[in-house]
């Protein structure tokens, strides 16, 4: 009953003083701005329907040769299913190149068999692991396609996914890369996967529509991304990861090309099914923000010849809403603890309610803008309240930990995800 009394006593002024964090960032950026942009996107999409049709027509008429590259370690078990599903694609003029990056399982045997039977066009095994970037680069080196599509072996692709990721190259001029829409396959496996599913659908499903629409789309997902061959040639392919997906996207934009998100180029992936595995994965992702935005590509903040406003904004947006907001959030908590310490519990609860309301709004009102395999979003209704805790606390703590570790200790260079031999050089060259 205290809470109801409290609610009634709130004035707008007071509410903003206490919940400024929510109002400024969450409500403005992630709800209002996105909602407006989504409407604009929808409007333009309807308006350009014929143009899209024509782009599709030109794609099939020109039928560029596409190289689908799948680098990875110990992915053999997924390859047959992947190859089979690629055979059902609406777009057919492609080659499939699989790179085995030093697997220590049956991958070599499986892929040799598949390649002998025509499921794989080219299979190369590295007997010594070289890391994800070198795997992709090796596939790229021997690929022949005008467009290179990078896939993850453990994802499932909808039958028109390849077609849909290619159309943007014909829809707009000057497109350098197109990212696909990655959603969660094992949504119902555990609480962790359910929450990630909601997150993917917000961050990727609608979030990337928004960033793409604003021209600040920043990561062409490694699980599903298409690149123009001539641009990859100029860049010499990928650089050492982690975060190589974001890195190459920035480099493509630095060259002056547009990068687009294709929401209807759908694929689903399995996400970590426990919070512990999830934390590990996110630590790696979050460290790359520091490494690539702040350290390697810090030149985008410097006004010089290569300066581009969208790229600058993209970086500012990214750094603000991740790194700086993270710091601000702690400032906010400190502010609350000092000035409103007597009602801290109420404030936290109130915050959760506000975030949950915002999430419900997005779940319901963003639904028409999302593309997914899912028939209905109703199943997610019960997870929305937890989603606020998941993004507000769990992800934030993981992120803070990762940022501190990376800023202070450059720990991503020690990440076992890359072989030690490559990390050593990456660190020495400050990349």
């Amino acid at each position: 009953m205290d809470f109801v009394t409290y609610w009634n006593s709130l004035t707008w002024e007071k509410a903003f003083r206490i919940y400024w964090y929510f109002f400024i960032f969450e409500l403005t950026r992630f709800v209002t701005l996105e909602y407006v942009v989504l409407w604009r996107w929808k409007y333009r999409r309807r308006r350009d329907r014929d143009k899209y049709q024509e782009a599709t027509f030109r794609l099939f008429q020109e039928a560029p040769f596409v190289s689908i590259i799948v680098p990875g370690k110990n992915e053999g078990k997924h390859i047959y299913k992947l190859a089979k599903s690629l055979q059902n694609q609406t777009y057919r003029n492609f080659e499939l190149i699989v790179i085995d990056d030093g697997s220590d399982d049956e991958t070599e045997k499986i892929c040799n068999t598949l390649s002998k039977n025509g499921f794989i066009d080219l299979f190369i095994r590295n007997y010594v692991r070289g890391g994800k970037a070198s795997g992709a680069n090796l596939a790229f080196r021997y690929s022949k396609g005008d467009i290179v599509v990078h896939l993850d072996a453990d994802c499932s692709y909808s039958n028109d996914a390849i077609e849909k990721i290619l159309v943007p190259f014909y829809f707009e001029p000057n497109i350098g890369a197109v990212g696909g829409n990655v959603q969660v396959r094992n949504e119902s496996e555990s609480l962790a996967t359910s929450l990630q599913s909601i997150e993917y659908q917000n961050v990727i499903g609608s979030g990337r529509v928004v960033t793409s629409e604003l021209g600040i789309y920043r990561i062409v997902s490694g699980a599903f991304g298409a690149f123009r061959r001539d641009i990859l040639d100029r860049l010499g392919g990928w650089d050492i990861g982690p975060g190589l997906d974001g890195d190459i996207t920035v480099k493509i934009r630095k060259l002056g090309y547009q990068v687009r998100f294709a929401p209807d180029a759908l694929c689903v992936t399995s996400v970590p099914n426990t919070f512990r595995k999830l934390a590990k994965q996110r630590r790696r992702w979050d460290k790359s923000l520091i490494r690539f935005r702040v350290r390697k590509h810090k030149d985008v903040f410097v006004p010089n010849k290569a300066f581009q406003i969208p790229l600058f904004l993209s970086f500012v947006e990214n750094v603000t809403f991740n790194l700086i907001l993270n710091v601000k959030w702690y400032l906010y908590i400190v502010d609350m603890m000092i000035n409103f310490s007597n009602m801290l519990g109420t404030i936290i609860l109130m915050n959760l309610i506000l975030y949950t309301l915002a999430n419900y709004f997005k779940l319901i009102f963003f639904a028409p803008f999302r593309t997914s395999f899912r028939e209905s979003w109703l199943g997610q209704v019960i997870y929305v309240p937890l989603s606020a805790i998941y993004t507000g606390y769990f992800l934030r703590i993981v992120r803070t930990y990762a940022y501190i570790a990376e800023l202070l200790f450059k720990s991503s260079y020690k990440d076992p995800w890359n072989p030690g031999k490559t990390s050593f050089y990456a660190k020495a060259r400050r990349i």
């Binding site: 190369i124 590295n126 070289g130 070198s134 680069n137 010499g236 392919g237 050089y425 990456a426 020495a428």
Partner: protein
Amino acid sequence: MNVKLKKPAETGLKSDKVWCHHELRFYLWDNLDPIDVFNLSDYDAVIISSQNVDLIKEKVKRFRSWSSSEIHLKPLFIIGSGSLINDPMVKGLVDGSLVSESHIDGIADVVRRIHSRKMKLDARLPSTFEGQLVNKLLGFAYTRSLEEINPVLNKESITGYVYPMLSINFLREEEGTQYQILNLMEEEGLLDGSFQDRVYICPSCSSGFLNYREVCSKCSSTHLHADDVVHHFPCAYIGPMKDFDSDGSGDLQCPKCDKLLHHIGVDYDKPSVVHTCQSCGQIQQNTPVHASCYSCETTVPTEQLQPTEIKSYTITKKGLHVAMNGYSNSEIDTDVVHGAVDLTTFSTILNMEVERASLLGSAKSCLGIINLHNVNQVYNQLGENGAYKLMTELVELVKSSAGRADMICFERAENLLLLQNEISLQEALNTLRSLKLLFNRLFEDRFPNGGVEIDTRSQLLTGGKNAQWHLNELHNAN
């Protein structure tokens, strides 16, 4: 010197070609002598005299590949250049060498031993080629007291290995068949094999002379170019060696970051090798290996080559038994045919009859044979029981027409022995002629496509010779 050389008086051959040593007569066969091996069956041994390895080889092969055991088991020696005998094939086929005439005493015992062992052998010539080879191989091993039949490496052989006494019976391109014969003999328990080596031979011609090479998995071209894959760690560039050595200077420079590569394992490594087909451009890593046959030019993936085990063989007890009693590739046990006696009994009675005949002096008895060529096919068609029924029927047929006190025996499933007492050779031959007609009619009526052919023979018993001698005479009288 206890060497006594006598000039033989009874031979029409030039006497300096025949050396006598005690009871043994050696024929010295030199380069210029045009005589052929079948004219040499009367000699106890033959000594080949030649300087020419090829001629020696040819003569030895002609001897050993002859079908009659009188020729192919003949003791053979080489005189003169002893070093010539290093040829593995010749070495495996001759019984020794001597430097000069004066060493003849040293080989006399070898000749005697071979002869005495040969007397114990079954001298009949089996009707099938396989049977003849089995007999020959076992007979040779037995008379030479060979404990093992060993494979010999031979670059002139199409499969790379020879078993001299077996291989000489084949044309070079058919040598692969020798392994089938050996396998058959091992299956039948005549030989006991132990592994020595494995060879891969062409599936179409059995040749072991194969050229193994990597081929393009797409177009099977052999024109492939292999290149190391180089990974430059600092920039993650990875590609074939040629990308790093564009000017051909040998200095490796990264095409992506322009840095020079320094130390393998430190700033770069070579994680893989990639083959590029120069015919179709296909990039590949696991190039299949194909074998191309030098003999027939067939090219097959190595998985399709026939792995053939090369073994050393010892002769089993059963093998020895077969060497002495003959080989039949029929499974039929001839000892249990109703109305006939078994071979042992028949031989005993035959011996007794010979004794009786020589004692009486005037007594006339005949030993006859009825050969049923190709009858095994009919047996196979009839099955075991049917075959026994037919054999019983044949025995009945003989009994009903051959008169009194006769002894009948299936020596093997393919021939019948008849002992007819108190009968002239003419009468015996007449009986056999009518039996031949009856048999022919029976087989033509019942098995018109069986292809069975009958022939008969008969001889008077000779006093002082045993049953084995008589049987040998009967089989060898062509």
